[in-house]
């Protein structure tokens, strides 16, 4: 009961601050709708053409991001149970980390992370 109440107060406080900041920005910020705003982001350069194909390296980066995200996820229960697992837990985790890291080494050696 008390836990829910404190969580609720927290959420209401966050929501109030969020809406306040958003409302303030809406009131103060200049609003201009122009076609440039919905253009593709190109670091300020005018886009040459519509993108039909983008660099395949983005795909590898995206896959790596997801994989290492999942890898980090497994470390949470490990960290909570760290004391009870002892040295064996450290060894187990590092085998896991090493196996995933092998993929990173492979991608690095193949030049998947280099941008010419």
């Amino acid at each position: 009961m008390l836990e829910w109440l404190s969580a609720g107060i927290d959420i209401v406080l966050v929501a109030v601050i969020f809406l306040l900041v958003l409302g303030l920005a809406r009131y103060l910020a200049p609003k201009q709708h122009n076609p440039f705003k919905s253009q593709v982001y190109e670091c300020g350069i005018f886009p040459v053409a519509e993108i039909s194909q983008f660099n395949i390296r983005f795909f590898v980066i995206a896959i790596m991001f997801t994989l290492f995200d999942i890898e980090a996820l497994f470390m949470y229960p490990w960290a909570l149970d760290f004391k009870e697992l002892g040295t064996l837990g450290v060894v187990e985790m590092f085998i896991f980390l090493f196996l995933v890291f092998l993929g990173w080494i492979y991608a690095y050696k193949k030049g998947a992370l280099e941008w010419q």
């Binding site: 253009q39 991001f65 497994f74 896991f96 193949k110």
Partner: protein, 168 residues
């Protein structure tokens, strides 16, 4: 009190899911999806499953939503404007959705899930994240290391598939 929390979380989830489907702006749609994920995460916390709740936030609201917005950054936004809200096959989606709802309602009826049990702790007491760690690193150690190999294969597969384009 728990009922109230449940209904608020359910409302967040449903409004988020509806916003994802109905919104015409793809960016807004992605953000509505994050709201729905946060609602689902709250529901997991109500079920005393903090690990799954955190997984929901880190993997879904974190990685998946970021990937979707990442793709939109590269995509031309103008292409999406002035289009029909639903594609012509939405009827099949409605049929599937109604079917799933009927199925879940039938299950809830069969197992006598009634609304007065909302928010009650139906799982283990306390933090079960630690228990997951205990089981994962002792009993299911081998499958856990296999997970690492699956992740490794996914990354190697991505590099192998794109190798030709990378080297040019």
């Amino acid at each position: 009190m728990a009922e109230f929390v449940f209904f608020v979380l359910a409302l967040v989830t449903i409004v988020g899911a509806l916003g994802t489907v109905i919104s015409r702006n793809a960016y807004a749609s992605a953000l509505w999806m994050v709201a729905a994920f946060l609602g689902v995460s709250g529901l997991f916390i109500m079920l005393n499953a903090p690990f799954i709740a955190m997984l929901q936030i880190i993997v879904y609201a974190g990685a998946i939503a970021v990937l979707i917005i990442f793709v939109m950054m590269l995509m031309d936004r103008r292409v999406l404007n002035n289009k029909e809200r639903f594609n012509p096959q939405y009827l099949w989606g409605v049929v599937l959705g109604v079917g799933l709802l009927a199925d879940l309602s039938a299950l809830a009826f069969k197992f006598r899930i009634n609304l007065s049990h909302i928010g009650e702790n139906l799982t283990l007491n306390g933090s079960n994240t630690k228990m997951i760690g205990d089981v994962l690193f002792k009993r299911y150690l081998f499958p856990f290391e296999i997970t690492a190999i699956i992740l490794l294969i996914a990354l190697i597969g991505a590099v192998v598939l794109t190798r030709k384009d990378i080297n040019t």
